[in-house]
């Protein structure tokens, strides 16, 4: 290795080290905007996605969307007061199954995407806030726009979404009723089983 080469590597590492923290601190609205822009770009141009290739669609969601979600917080919120009744093992299984279910739902939503555009509203939040709501609007020609809001929380690894609110319907709140009902019927294990069965049916369909 020549000295020049060594120097180049060190310089690259330095730049990366400087660039990374600023990337991690990307503002929540900028993060949502960039991510949805990138995903929609793929949905519009990727021939496999356009042909409805479920495997490819899942891959896009897994690699591009999921890293921006805080699934633990999401699952805990959907569980409500039942969260603390679950053992750590049960909690782990719940997070896993809920995550799979959401990937599946999101895949379905993406295949329905046509030619809508997304507009973002200015973020009105205290820059030091640990919790913000990013507001956006999906505009479809000739139809009433649909509001999509993202509940975002600050984590050491940057901002993460913990709720998606479509037209006033919060995903987390909606699942709280579902989870409550399952737990009332068969306990936390009953809920884990229902989620597992649902997801197994899903993979059969995918």
């Amino acid at each position: 290795m020549t000295f020049a080469n060594f120097f180049r590597i060190v310089a690259t590492l330095l730049v990366a080290a400087i660039a990374f923290p600023s990337f991690a601190q990307e503002a929540p609205d900028a993060l949502v905007k960039r991510t949805s822009g990138e995903v929609l770009q793929i949905v519009r141009t990727d021939p496999k996605v356009q042909a409805g290739d479920k495997q490819r669609i899942r891959e896009v969601i897994e690699t591009m969307l999921l890293p921006n979600f805080d699934f633990e917080r999401m699952t805990a919120l959907a569980m409500g007061r039942n969260w603390n009744k679950a053992t750590p093992e049960q909690q782990k299984l719940l997070i896993e199954q809920f995550r799979t279910l959401l990937v599946r739902t999101y895949s379905g939503a993406l295949t329905q995407y046509k030619d809508q555009t997304i507009e973002f509203k200015p973020l009105r939040a205290d820059p030091a806030a640990a919790d913000v709501i990013v507001r956006s609007e999906v505009v479809r020609s000739g139809q009433a726009p649909v509001q999509i809001d993202y509940g975002m929380t600050r984590t050491p690894a940057g901002w993460k979404a913990y709720d998606v609110i479509v037209g006033g319907v919060s995903l987390v709140t909606n699942y709280r009723d579902e989870f409550n009902e399952q737990i009332k019927g068969g306990g936390v294990d009953g809920l884990i089983k229902t989620l597992g069965d649902k997801n197994k049916g899903a993979t059969g369909k995918l």
Binding site: L77, G80, R81, L101, R104, T105, G108, A109, Q112, G142, Q143, A144, Q147, G167, G168, V169, S170, T173, N174, R176, D177, E178, F179, E181, Q182, T194, L195, K198, A202
Partner: protein, 230 residues
Amino acid sequence: MNMRAMMPVLAAVLLSACASAPGRVDDPFEPMNRAMYAINKPIDDHVMRPIAQAYVDYVPKLVRQGVSNVFGNIDDLFSGINGLLQGKTEKAGNDFGRVLVNSWGLGGLVDIATDLGIPKGNEDFGQTFGYWGIPQGPYLFVPLWGPTTVRDGTGSLIRIWYGPVGYISYVPLRNIIYGIGAVDIRANALGTTSLIEEAALDPYTFVRRAYLQRREYMVYDGSPPPEKDD
């Protein structure tokens, strides 16, 4: 679906809902509602959904858009009235303005007002009652109609009763218009219903919660008070 023919059904369900019963506070008639949901499911699977899907597949988008716009024009008129009933004069002004502008565009076939940037108010009687402080009352699931509540269902009855289509005296034409309206509504909801099937553990609970959340959001014009965590 003949909306007028549906009225006695909806009215009967609303009346029977007035007799109190134990259970969830927001859904005291859950057993009855679940039975209605079960009746509705095969009808929707085998009749309403296939018709709506065929409509989307075979009728050009331009025509479907025109149909939605005509019904939307009538909705705007009622939205304006409800805006006034809630003292939201600016919204009401927009809605009446939309009706004036769009009625010139081939009776509402072309939605010129949206292109001009006049927003839809999307108000209805159920929201007006909510704005006046009347609670939702028991949740109801009505076959062929879908989720509603005593409050919103009453609002829908008023809306249908005074809706302009009811004044058409030639019954076959009136029924055809109601039928097209029903297909238009179902077709626009195709994406939503398939998503519910993907997402829900129990579609009945899922639809109920989503409906109640959505209506609450609409009553508060997009900024409802935060829900408690449990």
